[in-house]
């Protein structure tokens, strides 16, 4: 009843092409935004922020980034961890070299630097395809992590080899460092998520996105109808790396505060983000959020149940977590290989006909 196009007349082309053509969706979208921006900041506390909200927000940016590359342009990448490291180290170098630089600009510049690096590692994608490309992106992963470990310039010659974020302020409120208020860092990350998600949605449905999808569906055919594979693949790599770099910068400066590169940006991070994209749904912005939420929430939930309820030893719970995460991934792939996004769109289709499905 509520979920209908009927009666919602589109009188301009702009209205006809909007992201949420159904009024119910539009209201839900604005309601979510209002709650996220105006209600949650008053409720958020340290536990919720650090266990759930910040990782969710930051990983959704990374998942969107990888989704642009893998879901929309069809280039599988296992180098996301390495690119996040580029974002993190770029933001560290910028923060320490230019102490007066605004944090927003720092994060955006880090994304830009990562985009350059990503574009560089994207060059081989013109020759190398499919799995071969996936494995080649591991070169980026291992090489970048090694680089940040071995070249002292990147960590300012600190004795521990770690980097830690100095305190920086925006409008008088600290956003990095030790004295951050929960709601400030929440809003800081949320704003990035909002703007980047909005950008991703509009990029992927515009000319660029259509080119990416053409390349994904069949690159030779796309080339024949006039899509330049060089430009298209490289823009996909650059845009995707920009998102992943921003996520890396936020993860380091706002969420973790101090980072050791092999530990925080290792190969397991690349897999984590790939899981988010696959479980959420390839080629869907909503899917990136759903996948990130799932992969962030599930370990927290499992840990609470096993350690909190059953009182098991932590290492035992950790092993069990591996079993369950692995099992669930396989289960999801068998039941719904197209991820949460597909479930979501099936639900919406059903809802349009409800309560008279025939």
């Amino acid at each position: 009843m509520l979920y209908r196009e009927a009666g919602d007349f589109k009188t301009t082309y702009a209205k006809d092409q909007q992201t949420f053509p159904i009024a119910f969706d539009r209201r839900g979208y604005f309601l979510t935004l209002i709650i996220a921006f105006l209600v949650v900041p008053f409720l958020v506390n340290d536990y919720w922020l650090n266990a759930i909200l910040l990782p969710f927000l930051i990983y959704s940016i990374a998942a969107m980034g990888l989704n642009i590359l893998t879901g929309y342009c069809g280039q599988v990448s296992l180098g996301s961890g390495g690119f996040m490291a580029v974002g993190a180290y770029a933001s560290y170098k910028l923060m320490t070299s230019f102490p007066d630089l605004n944090m927003i600009i720092v994060v955006l510049l880090s994304g830009g630097i990562t985009a350059l690096v990503g574009g560089l590692f994207g060059l081989p994608s013109l020759r190398i395809k499919g799995f071969y490309l996936a494995v080649v992106t591991l070169a980026a992963q291992f090489f970048l992590v090694w680089l940040f470990n071995k070249v002292p310039w990147f960590y300012n010659y600190s004795a521990s080899g770690q980097i830690s974020a100095p305190e920086r302020e925006i409008l008088g409120y600290a956003v990095t460092g030790a004295n951050v208020l929960p709601w400030v860092s929440y809003l800081f990350c949320l704003s990035f998520v909002f703007v980047l998600a909005w950008g991703a949605r509009n990029l992927t449905r515009g000319a660029n996105g259509r080119k990416w999808m053409a390349i994904r569906d069949m690159d030779i055919a796309a080339e024949i109808i006039g899509v330049d594979p060089l430009k298209t693949k490289l823009t996909a790599f650059a845009v995707s790396s920009f998102y992943i770099g921003v996520a890396g910068a936020l993860l380091f400066s706002v969420y973790l505060g101090a980072v050791e590169v092999g530990e925080a940006f290792g190969i397991s991070k690349s897999f984590l983000i790939l899981f988010m994209v696959i479980i959420g749904g390839l080629g869907s912005i909503f899917g990136s959020f759903a996948g990130a939420a799932f992969m962030v929430l599930m370990p927290v939930l499992l840990k609470n149940i096993m350690v909190g309820q059953f009182g098991w030893a932590i290492d035992l719970a950790a092993h069990f977590e591996f079993v369950i995460v692995g099992g669930l991934i396989v289960f999801f792939l068998i039941v719904e290989p197209h991820g949460f996004a597909q479930l979501w769109s099936i639900a919406k289709e059903k809802l349009r006909l409800w309560p008279f499905p025939h």
Binding site: Y132, A139, F143, F275, H319, E321, F322, P337
Partner: protein
């Protein structure tokens, strides 16, 4: 000849030996990829799991002891007997075959005709699952593997080559274990080739590798073949697990050898058994020589982490299907 040159030769020899170890892991990948088009990321974890199971059987550990203790408050750990090695290997093989059957029945069968990336993700999920499962079953402490393969430097080789260098050269150091690994690898590859060339099952395997549908239409059961292939690669994983486990102890890091095998595969081509061997040797020698000549003196060491990948990347730019891979033909 200067001593430095002989050190170089020694590094080269050791590189060859390491390469053999990489090839052992890569072999398992190739077998499964040829037969089912699945890129099995879990191969490394399979090696770890096989090694854990073998050690567990040998020492008479009680499976799931931690879990049982946590639930029932008991204090179990060992049965209290030692199993002879060959018997333990036999039982481990049975476990790997059972594993192959379960994977086929509960995972692969439901994922037929999915895109390769989905299958790849499923094997990553499988790898996570097995990693946790192995730890649950046998505990996560580092275990010592001893199946009676001699270890330590080969004295004969050292003594017979010591005269080559000058005062400060004491002969080539090559670990006995590595030599045995090379011998086992040679036997393994020969028997695999014989198996696939001269037996009926082997012929069926090759038919499936060539064309799934054609194989189905002449009456070859895909499901049986997949169980067989996964069992064989479970066996290869066991051999790799024994070798790597004897070398560096049975522990989590064993599963990371899968990551070492990937560039080997890329170099050799995903579909070629000789490719896996030669790729392994190239990567082994390449990364050791690079570390010796350039990495350690000029770049601060630890270049072994990425050298193989960079080599594969550069190589693939010129030859996208690897050394022996099937030519990639693209049609619209």
């Amino acid at each position: 000849m200067s001593a430095n040159f002989y050190y170089g030769v020694e590094v080269f020899l050791n590189g060859l030996m390491t390469g053999v170890m990489y090839s052992l892991v890569a072999l398992g990948f190739v077998l499964i990829f040829k037969a089912s088009g699945i890129f099995n990321y879990a191969q490394g974890v399979m090696a770890l799991f096989a090694a854990l199971t073998l050690v567990g059987f040998q020492n008479g550990q009680i499976p799931f002891a931690h879990l049982i203790n946590a639930i029932f408050g008991t204090d179990l750990h060992h049965f209290g007997w030692q199993m002879p090695t060959f018997l333990a290997i036999f039982f481990t093989l049975l476990v790997m075959i059972l594993f192959a059957y379960i994977v086929e029945k509960y995972v692969l069968q439901h994922l037929v005709n999915q895109e390769p990336i989905i299958l790849f993700m499923a094997t990553i999920g499988l790898a996570y699952f097995m990693e946790g499962f192995g730890d649950l079953m046998w505990g996560s402490d580092v275990k010592k593997m001893d199946v009676g393969i001699p270890q330590g430097g080969n004295l004969w080789l050292e003594e017979s080559t010591a005269f080559l260098g000058g005062e400060d050269f004491f002969g080539f150091y090559v670990d006995n274990l590595d030599i045995w690994a090379a011998i086992f690898a040679a036997i393994l590859v020969t028997s695999l080739v014989m198996f696939s060339q001269y037996t009926k099952t082997g012929r069926a395997l090759r038919a499936v590798a060539d064309d799934h549908q054609a194989a189905l239409s002449v009456g070859i059961s895909l499901r049986t073949i997949w169980v067989i292939v996964w069992s064989i690669s479970g066996f290869v994983a066991l051999v790799a697990g024994i070798m790597w486990g004897s070398k560096s102890g049975v522990q989590f890091s064993l599963s990371l050898i899968a990551l070492k095998a990937l560039p080997v595969l890329m170099l050799g081509g995903f579909t070629s058994i000789p490719g896996a061997i030669i790729g392994g040797l190239i990567v082994g020698v390449g990364e050791k020589m690079f570390e010796f000549l350039i990495g350690a003196p000029f770049l601060g060491g630890a270049t072994e982490n990425w050298f193989a990948y960079m080599l594969a990347l550069l190589f693939l730019v010129f030859r996208p299907q690897g050394l022996f891979g099937e030519k990639i033909i693209e049609r619209v």
